[in-house]
Symmetry: C2
């Protein structure tokens, strides 16, 4: 059936189901959604069940939009909104978009604008015709979030066209008689970095992650030139599990070289991604390298992004439904569940995950409606890769900082801007507030503050305790005055020249670039100082070399290569990792509901991937295998 017939058919089915007096003027696909235009938006608003029931019957996501005819003029609408919402809502801004009949309401307390089960929103619709969408006015202002929202507004028309094209492609007819499901490994197998997989069926082809290995020139890029994926026009969609560069750093490259389809991720992942991609370009340029893509390509990513919240079942191809679940690794990180065909197969790509409650997140989800195959990370999959408890790790960190500060030393913590930094910030804030360590400044350099602002924008992606702190008690730990963003080179040079006891959190997390290098050069030779590792250090990075005990460290400077004599203390504080340790990896699978049939391991060095696969096989009697790059396995 041609797509226009499909739409006509859908409209007829909808017409038959609508209660009397409720009509729709037209229907269209927009991305994974079916959009219905109506002259009676209030009857839909009045009866939330209409859309819910339709969605259930038609097995697709449905959005109702008012026909332009019924919209109340913007000025009048603002007055009616103010009348309707509680005063505490603290509305900061309005944006009316006549193309989609939407009004974006930016509020400090979006929950109040929404009301119980969306009651207040429906009230607003009834009064003004416009569909209200509520976004949070961030408690810490994020440049990234602001820019992205502006960009999306500016490019709304182009985006609408893109979404229409994507929508029609998703809902195309399936034509193949064959049934099979394959997974091709393009990167990140028996290694960490450049994660990239293809999930393909006779109908569709979806890429999962598209990372860059920043620690290796030789193995920087996934195998993107093989015929399974090249040319990129054959891809239906890309799914990004989380925003770290080793999972998405080369996504803009796909758009640069011909990909025109959608990228699916959670809202925080989209924002963090843009931040990290632009920084990647920046770092590459500064190091005299040629970045593989430009900011124009990053903008293409944004234009083609379709954000999905956790637990939203979404059609992303004619025969593939995607559902994200919390992965507990970093903000917005997602366990990605794919339902293929009409009950043919279910495969879960874990991406990176933490199966333990942390200061920031709930543990990763491992309950699904169905699951037969699992592709899982194995960073700490080695038989002895056990990590201390978070409590022990926090104690260890307090002790190390306390000792260093007592010796008038400086504590330098290389950290990923996204994830570990915020975890450590909360631990430090807690310790300073409780007087467990001296009230010294905690400097945040290299995007950490900006990443933190993005965290504050999406509290619904944090765990309950932290969300309560931010929402209900007004005790947002990120706003503590101990934190000092380093927002200029002057401040950085001042910190370096003063050499006063303090804590510095700086990127990059594996010491292969970023401002951490300047602090390291300045402080490495003083034995009073301490370098504290809180995250995984991949092979080939400076971080890994220092952990191995290198004492003479050659560093490139403007003037050539300089030799750094390593006198500062080195402390490795395990337990802060955003990755599950060996025990958590094993438990994650053992307790998975339902029990999967097969488990494939990836994202770990060779030994770790093989160890984990072997152990899961022995303990759970499941078929397991450590994947190899460039292999294709058959799931069905």
């Amino acid at each position: 059936m041609a797509i226009d017939e499909v739409l006509a058919d859908l409209k007829q089915k909808i017409d038959e189901k609508l209660p009397k007096g409720t009509t729709i003027s037209s229907v269209e696909f927009e991305g994974p959604q079916l959009v219905m235009y109506t002259e009676n938006p209030w009857s839909f608003a009045d009866n939330g069940n209409i859309v819910r029931n339709l969605a259930k019957t038609l097995r697709t996501r449905i959005v109702v939009r008012p026909d332009p005819k019924v919209l109340v003029p913007p000025e009048e609408s603002v007055n009616k909104i103010v009348e309707t919402v509680p005063v505490d809502s603290a509305i900061a801004n309005y944006h009316f978009d006549p193309d989609v009949g939407e009004v974006i309401i930016e509020a400090e307390k979006p929950g109040l604008v929404i009301g119980k089960h969306g009651e207040t929103l429906r009230e607003i619709t009834k009064k003004i015709g416009w569909t209200p969408k509520v976004v949070r006015a961030p408690p810490i202002s994020s440049r990234t979030v602001k820019n992205i929202r502006e960009f999306m507004k500016t490019n709304h028309k182009e985006r609408k066209e893109i979404l229409k094209t994507v929508g029609r492609k998703i809902h195309r007819e399936c034509t193949s008689k064959d049934q099979w499901v394959r997974v091709t490994s393009l990167g990140g197998c028996k290694e960490v970095g450049r994660s990239c997989f293809l999930l393909s069926t006779p109908e569709s082809c979806v890429m999962i992650d598209c990372g860059v290995n920043v620690g290796s020139e030789e193995h920087m890029t996934p195998y993107l030139y093989v015929p399974e994926v090249s040319p990129f026009s054959k891809l239906d969609a890309v799914v990004i599990t989380h925003a770290h560069l080793d999972h998405q750093g080369l996504l803009p490259l796909l758009y640069r070289y011909g990909f025109e389809g959608p990228v699916y991720c959670t809202p925080p992942t989209r924002d963090l991604m843009a931040l990290l991609q632009l920084d990647y370009i920046d770092v590459a340029s500064k190091e005299g390298g040629r970045p593989p893509y430009s900011s124009a390509d990053v903008r293409e990513v944004l234009k083609h992004s379709i954000v999905l919240d956790y637990e939203e079942v979404t059609d992303i191809a004619p025969d593939i439904k995607l559902t994200f679940h919390n992965a507990g690794h970093i903000l917005g990180s997602a366990i990605s569940h794919f339902h293929i065909g009409d009950g043919l197969h279910n495969v879960v790509f874990t991406g990176d995950f933490k199966y333990e409650k942390t200061r920031l997140f709930d543990p990763a989800v491992n309950k699904f409606p169905r699951v037969e195959s699992v592709v899982m990370e194995s960073t700490y999959g080695g038989v002895n890769a056990l990590q201390p408890s978070l409590q022990d790790a926090e104690g260890h960190m307090q002790q190390v900082i306390k000792n260093t500060l007592q010796n008038k030393g400086i504590v330098l913590i290389p950290a990923f801007a996204v994830g570990r930094s915020q975890e450590v910030m909360i631990v430090l804030e807690d310790a300073i507030r409780k007087g467990l360590i001296d009230n010294v400044p905690v400097y945040l350099d290299g995007m950490i503050w900006e990443a933190t602002a993005i965290h504050a924008t999406y509290p619904e992606y944090l765990n309950n305790d932290l969300r309560k702190l931010i929402f209900q008690k007004g005790e947002n730990p990120f706003l503590s005055e101990c934190f000092r963003p380093v927002d200029s080179n002057e401040l950085r040079q001042e910190i370096i020249s003063k050499r006063e006891p303090c804590v510095i959190l700086a990127t990059s997390g594996m010491m292969n670039a970023g401002p951490v290098m300047e602090y390291f050069k300045a402080f490495a030779e003083d034995e009073r100082n301490t370098l504290v590792f809180v995250g995984y250090q991949a092979d080939g990075t400076l971080g890994r070399r220092i952990q191995k005990g290198w004492k003479e460290i050659p560093l490139k400077t403007g003037k050539g290569t300089e030799m750094i004599h390593m006198n500062m203390n080195v402390e490795i504080i395990d337990g802060f990792s955003g990755h599950s340790d060996r025990r958590q990896l094993m438990e994650y699978i053992r307790k998975m509901k339902p029990r999967p049939e097969r488990v494939f391991t990836e994202h770990g060095d060779e030994r770790s991937c093989i160890d984990l696969a072997t152990s899961i096989h022995k303990k759970n009697k499941m078929e397991t295998r450590a994947l190899t790059n460039l292999e294709t396995i058959r799931l069905v």
Copy 2:
């Protein structure tokens, strides 16, 4: 380096190595060969070592062609040739091709024209300038061979262009920094039929076999639409291991849909392939089906074919060398050895093979300069799939035929036209000559005679004993007068209506089509007759159903479906198979030199492939795996 520079460079190197007085005017690639044009062909002819040494130094196959200036006119040349060769040579025909400076001499005894170590040939060259090529005047005239030789002559110019294009592509520069070797299964894994593999590296992509499963509509075609192989223009070459349809039946389809590269096979495989492809079209049309390709596509196959004899090491891609070795399965069947990169990896695709000396062939070769990986057939890979010795099988057959003839019955033997038929013919001829069975006519229906003629054309592909019979004693068993080709429908109907005791060998071998069906319909209900199976019957074929004991057999006729009551005797004579039995498969690997590291099994039902992989792993401590269709494995 551009290809013209490569050629200039080669010419310079050659010039430096040539002895004084020997010069070349130009060099060009033609297929895998380097062609040198010279005004002094006689100096090359005089000194065979020049070319041998050059080939060694340049590591490529070299051909010398005379510059047109130095060619003696054809009529004069014929006289000089007749002067030079022994009278016994029995030259039947000459064909002069000025394009390549070659004269094709068709002789009944080509060995005499060639002379010891090519002495006589060199003598001829010296006298006439032309390069003599000797082909055998077949002792039984084969329509196929004749037509193909004519076709190749007629299309010589186009072929030359094709070979030039292929040659330049083979010798292109390698550009990738990555090193990997992958094998993708497109068909014939955990099943028999539609064998098809891809061998790929960052530089090149070679298909091995392209079969059709004639016993299944649903699984008829390999997965040729997946991106690894589609569009076909990305293929560097196709290699065909032997001529049976399940290994090459869809080769013309590749040319129909855009493939323009070469197909490599042995000379008998090329001829048998053409015969079987044309018959496949014929059978499909007769059954009212639509053949997937036409005879024009078969002609494209011929135009693009490059034949290689056993043991000729040949560049088929910038980083892949192919060598065929005897496989003992059918005429021209080849174990295909691939040397990849500069010593990077060696993988052997066995195709179908027999690791035992038979009436027709020597046992399959399992000694190689190097081998790390083996992809092997598993038809009889099941733990209990042992076959009787050939001697026992022959005894069994004599007994069955003797009994049936005594009861005035007819013996009907469904057989592949190629392979089993000739094996059985020799057994029957031997038994009749020795008086072990009555001297009844042995009817050969459905291309068996034509296939036999092709066997007689290539005695060098048969084993020593049979070759001696044909060559030296003039006792060619294929020429025995007991054999009666059925070359008309009248004769067929006469045999059917007379119902006199006789033996009938008829295709197809699995009773899914062909003249055997007519004999079967006529003779099935008479209990005096016997149906004798001598080959493997795949799942889904009528042969397999009869073996399972079906007594009421529905057969499609012109008038609808007719029910056949099966009263004739059924005898399964194991031991004639062209496949190695379980013990031979195990021995083939155990005795392989050098010892391979990994063995992958395919071409057998699921149980057989898994059993064989398991047993080889246990016995030899090698890594093994039963391949699955649509998987890609990584060898390096």
